[in-house]
Amino acid sequence: MQYTMIAKMENKPGVLNRIASLFRRRNYNIESLNVGHTENPEISRMTIVVDGTPETVKIIEANLYKLVNVIDVQDLTSQPTVTRDLALIKVQATPEKRSEIASLADIFRAKIVDVASDSVIVEITGTEEKIEGLVELLTPMGILEMVRTGQVAMLRGKTQSGASLSDTY
């Protein structure tokens, strides 16, 4: 089963490397990993989707906490969350095909963000399933290129947080 975790970490050089090294070293199976800034410039936030069991997720959590730069880890799997993935899909499109792609995109609330003579770029945001759905429909037309951000996730409602940056001993 897939589990979604978020980890907040100090925004320092090499932190991404530490996390990647941990996953490699302990042989954890990452499905997707996304890292970006947060409301606090000193803190980065990572969304990690892993394939495993409840036990492996607990061990991953404990090992993430062992990294000195990791401030907070939450397992969001069984909690109400908003998860989003963004994809850019370049599709083969002769001028006659464009309108068909546009209407497909419309159904998925995706946008066409670039039009060239023989291709278009479709941008879609949503859950993984939604993106898979559009990809499936666009495949017969010929997907030339695709990029996805991987999932980002956030708890609904009240914000939970771990220790603040002022935690000292």
Binding site: N17, Y65, K66
Partner: protein, 568 residues
């Protein structure tokens, strides 16, 4: 106050209590070592950086303080790697300083540049790269704090040369600000309650004591706990010394070369109370059949060790000393006469098979040498070892009643650890002598440190169990590969002559009648002394649980001594 980076560094080291460090100079370290001359720090020049790392490790294990080693950039740094990994696997509080090329050259493949922070990422608790002088004070402070707190471990600081030369405002940080680092955790009342219930129900409990008991200084707590619930105590290799070997409840060492009665007790227990240990594969054997009828309580300071190898019924997170105290208070006294009688029966059977109680027939057996050494030193010696058969014999036959006396590489099993770690241990106890029990293979790996020991005037006594084999591997070949001794025959040099070349008094012993007088000679002769014991070449370590086998599935010593033709 503005100071040069070099001075900031040494000011911090002095404030962290560093008096001695081990290492090797090199190009980028020149300004740093030049500045050191103004500070009350003794720098021990080892003959190889690996020796420096093990010496810092041995110092830390013997003193309980943070051990420090320093090496230059490039090959100096990479030569530390084995020592860092050794300290990591055994959770030893150590700080490693490596010089680095100037920050402007980092990433340019400069002369003697190596990405040591990248290399040591998985073998340090944490590591740092200092690129400017303003980072020094904070980094050194954090490094020492991280190394010694929580579950201790090695921290590496890679120190760019430009940061040594620049000036910066020196403010020694009073507090460390590490928002993500929470070394202090405490078992919940609920877990303690559950644990005490399991203890109350148990008929056949066994305590498993690991290195964490020693790290936490929880020897008294363990003693009280074991006596209160009348439970026998089995120790991991690194847990040796946490409970007196001569105590009637002591089961000695567990695991692959553990006492048979100890392993049988674990396999027949109905409750395992494990503390400060991590269920290493050398301890458990086959996990699927490990302590099959036992419920398990696991107490450890590192949450990542919980449920890693063995699934525990109750987990107690925290420092062994504090948690064990609470647990003892919560637990009612118990008696387990029947269980202890059963174990005593197994123990009697073990004794019959133990070469310790056999005649030597004028042959030189390591077990007998170590027993004689134990008797001569009254069980009070500080002993370091290399890795292999001699290490296991030391663990089995030197019956440690005191904590922090056995210094040995457990998790990493690093050959060559004995002599350099003894140099470190001696600096922690300069009023005492430190004994090295080594194999001829292990000894040759770091033999160069003899010169270091002599230069420092160390009081180190080296006992080599010389069987002209890489004995542990040879033993596996004997048991599992039809005695095909591939690459395990090692013809050593004449160790007495090697010693002589260093000005070290030495003796060769080939007969059991000369053992005691040689040990006495080593003890009474000041400084470094070496004794080369030419022991039975194909003697084996018993019992042995083959790798991956069930813990109760031990190869036992045959009741009659095997014919052992040696060509000595």
């Amino acid at each position: 106050m503005k100071l040069a980076g070099t001075d900031i560094f040494w000011e911090c080291m002095v404030r962290e209590g560093v008096e001695v460090m081990f290492g090797y100079p090199g190009g980028v370290l020149i300004p740093l070592l030049d500045a050191m001359l103004k500070y009350p720090i003794h720098f021990v020049l080892t003959r190889h950086e690996q020796g420096a790392a093990h010496a810092a490790d041995g110092y830390a294990r013997a003193s309980g303080k943070v051990g420090v080693a320093m090496a230059t950039s490039g090959p100096g740094a990479t030569n530390l790697v084995t020592g860092i990994a050794t300290a990591m696997m055994d959770s030893i509080p150590t700080v490693f300083i490596t010089g680095q090329v100037p920050a402007s050259l980092v990433g340019k493949d400069a002369f003697q540049e190596v990405d040591i922070t990248g290399i040591t990422l998985p073998i340090t608790k944490h590591n740092y790269l200092i690129t400017n002088a303003s980072q020094i004070a904070e980094t050194v402070r954090e490094a020492f704090y991280i190394a010694r707190s929580g579950r201790p471990g090695p921290v590496l600081i890679d120190f760019c040369k430009n940061a040594m030369l620049e000036e910066a405002e020196f403010i020694f940080p009073e507090k460390v600000s590490l928002p993500g680092y929470r070394p202090r955790i405490q078992a919940t009342e609920e877990s303690l309650e559950k644990a005490s219930q399991l203890i109350a129900q148990a008929q056949r409990p066994v305590i498993l004591a690991g290195h964490g008991v020693l790290m936490a200084g929880a020897m008294d707590e363990l003693h009280q706990f074991a006596e209160k619930i009348q439970a026998p105590v089995a120790m991991t290799l690194l847990g040796i010394g946490s409970f007196p070997a001569s105590h009637p409840y002591s089961l000695g060492m567990m695991g692959m070369h553990g006492e048979a009665y100890c392993n049988l007790a674990i396999q027949n227990a109905d409750l395992i109370i494990a503390m400060g240990m991590r269920f290493d594969d050398r301890v458990t054997g086959n996990l699927r059949t490990y302590a099959p009828s036992a419920r398990k309580i696991h107490l450890d300071i590192d949450p990542a060790e919980i449920q890693k190898n063995v699934i525990a019924d109750v987990t107690l997170l925290g420092d062994v000393k504090t948690v064990l105290k609470s647990l003892t208070d919560k637990t009612a006294p118990k008696e387990h006469e029947e269980w202890l009688d059963q174990i005593a029966e197994w123990r009697t059977e073990s004794h019959k098979r133990d070469i310790l109680h056999w005649e030597d027939e004028n042959k030189l057996y390591p077990a007998h040498i170590i027993r004689d050494f134990w008797e001569y030193t009254k069980g009070n010696a500080i002993v370091t070892t290399g890795v292999g058969q001699h290490q296991m014999w030391t663990a089995q036959y030197y019956r440690f009643d005191q904590p922090y006396r056995l210094i040995t590489s457990g998790g990493m099993g690093t050959m060559g650890f004995g002599l350099p770690s003894a140099i470190g241990a001696w600096f922690a106890h300069k009023d005492k002598e430190v004994w090295v029990i080594d194999g001829d293979g292990s000894f040759q790996m770091t033999q160069a440190e003899l010169a270091t020991a002599v230069q420092e005037g160390a009081n180190i006594k080296i006992l080599i169990m010389n069987n002209q084999f890489l004995g542990m591997v040879r033993q596996w070949q004997e048991f599992f590969h039809d005695k095909r001794y591939a690459v395990t025959s090692i013809s050593g040099p004449d160790f007495v002559k090697i010693a002589d070349a260093h000005g070290i008094p030495a003796q060769r012993v080939t007969s059991p009648k000369d053992v005691l007088s040689a040990i006495e000679f080593a003890h009474k002769t000041p400084g470094v002394v070496l004794i080369d014991f030419h022991v039975e070449k194909e003697e084996d370590v018993y019992p042995m649980v083959p790798a991956g086998a069930d813990l109760h599935d031990m190869l036992r010593r045959p009741l009659k001594n095997k014919s052992n033709p040696t060509s000595r």
